[in-house]
Amino acid sequence: MILRGKKVIALGDRDGVPGGAIEECVKSAGAEVIFSVSECFV
């Protein structure tokens, strides 16, 4: 998937990949993060 120029909503998980980490990854691939959050499911 090419992320450059795409808008991204990042939904992260504390015990998986947190929102902040997803955000950094997709930004480095040229995407724009319009919303990022980490959730706790336990």
Binding site: G12, D13, R14, D15, G16, V17, P18, G19, G20, A21, E24, V37, S38, C40, F41, V42
Partner: protein, 530 residues
Amino acid sequence: MDSAVVRDTSYALVHAPSLLVHMGTTQTVEREANPDSEYLRNITSHLRSYESCVAYPPNQTYIGNMTPVELAAIERPWFERPVENARRYSAAGQIMPEDEFYAWMKIVDSFNLVLLEDSFTSDVAKRMAESSPIWQDGDAARLGAGVPAEEISKHLDGGKASAKAEPLYLGDRLVGCVKAAHERDRALTAHVMTENLAVKASGVVALRHLIARGSVSAADVDYIIECSEEACGDMNQRGGGNFAKAVGEMAGCVNATGSDVRGFCAAPAHSMVMAASLVQAGVYRNVVVLAGGATAKLGMNGRDHAKKGMPLLEDVLGAFAILVSANDGVSPVIRTDAVGRHKIGSGSSPQAVMTSIVLDPLERVGLRISDVQRYSAEMQNPEITESAGAGDVPKSNMKMIAALAVKKGEIERTAIDSFVGEHGLVGFAPTQGHIPSGVPSIGFLRDEIMAGRMERAQIIGKGSLFLGRMTNLFDGVSFLLEANPGKPTAPDGAEDRLRKIMADALREVAKSLTDDEGGASECQIRQGRS
């Protein structure tokens, strides 16, 4: 400085299906937003009996009647495989029925906020006095005789909404209520008081079980650290505290003081590190780390469980108490030189998180990831979380630890699954936030280390700080539990120095005795003063 040890543990659960219906936030929010929902209409058909709750394999594991290894050998779904001849009590604690728990809420109620119906009270009091191993002199008086049903109804009807009492049900039967502690203070509403009294009562149950085990007397407890997730206080200091001292008071810990530590689900791991540090520094000899359970989290994933036709498995409050003591030369030591922490600047990638919590502390003391026989990270029961789409939390954490071991060249990529199986533990704790956070395994791990079946374990707690909306950070803390080397350790050369001081002192005494008359007289005077 000598190491602190984990001297003893206790674990308790409270079966609380009615509190689930009336106090769990999934249910209370649903009742506000969608009072006629199918979930609420059918919720009681998904509740388990007390007997089913006791026979549930993860619950038997939590109180120590089974080991996590034995649990892992049972095929899932566990709720369809009840343990035969399951016991309410274990050497470490119990699974308490809801009616007795209401009595405990009344026993620990210092402000006459809990009203229980008189016939209910007399039935429960009789049973508890006859059979409860943690029943003490004075409990009957604190429980009292109860009140007529009309008095309970009076507190539930009319009056200001903020001052309305919270009902206590057993199924459909109204058996009591908890009154608001203030007419206008939103930190002291009946709902908040019910939550806090449940934390206190379950914490007292765990502490009394710990003391009943005999490793420490109540009077010898010096300090208590309470690490649950609720806050007690009034509108001027909503989280002022102090659950710790309130719990200790109800267990006869007359020489203890204490404080509350908060850090979401990571609080127990933080508290263990603090307890070990206090003991190791010589400030206190016996510190108890304990927590009661969260009514808010009862039935948290209930909608998903009901949709899948499962029983509502989150129907228990969890509690534990862990005694951290000065080195007895036998119990497993807590290595404060190998504490892991997710720092503010650690970063949030899984690799950064696990490096800071798991790898950094091990490398600091010259250990490899595979030198730790067992990791206890977030011990949530996967049967509860997988059905709600949250996966197997302890397994996810273990996979990340195994991946780190691959990266360090300790194991092959193909060995990840076997590493997870050999070094991890299956989750068995209820999703009570702080309760699953690494510490439920300490009883089992202590037994294994004491029996010589393993040398060390790493306990890991993680906390979702972002839920408080003060930061986007989360948290993680770890510590090592290790076999006791056999005798209290002294810093290099300390023993020799001590011997020399003693020898010098004895020589001086001998000299004074054989010296001239003045010297002998001085010695006699000193002896006389002492």
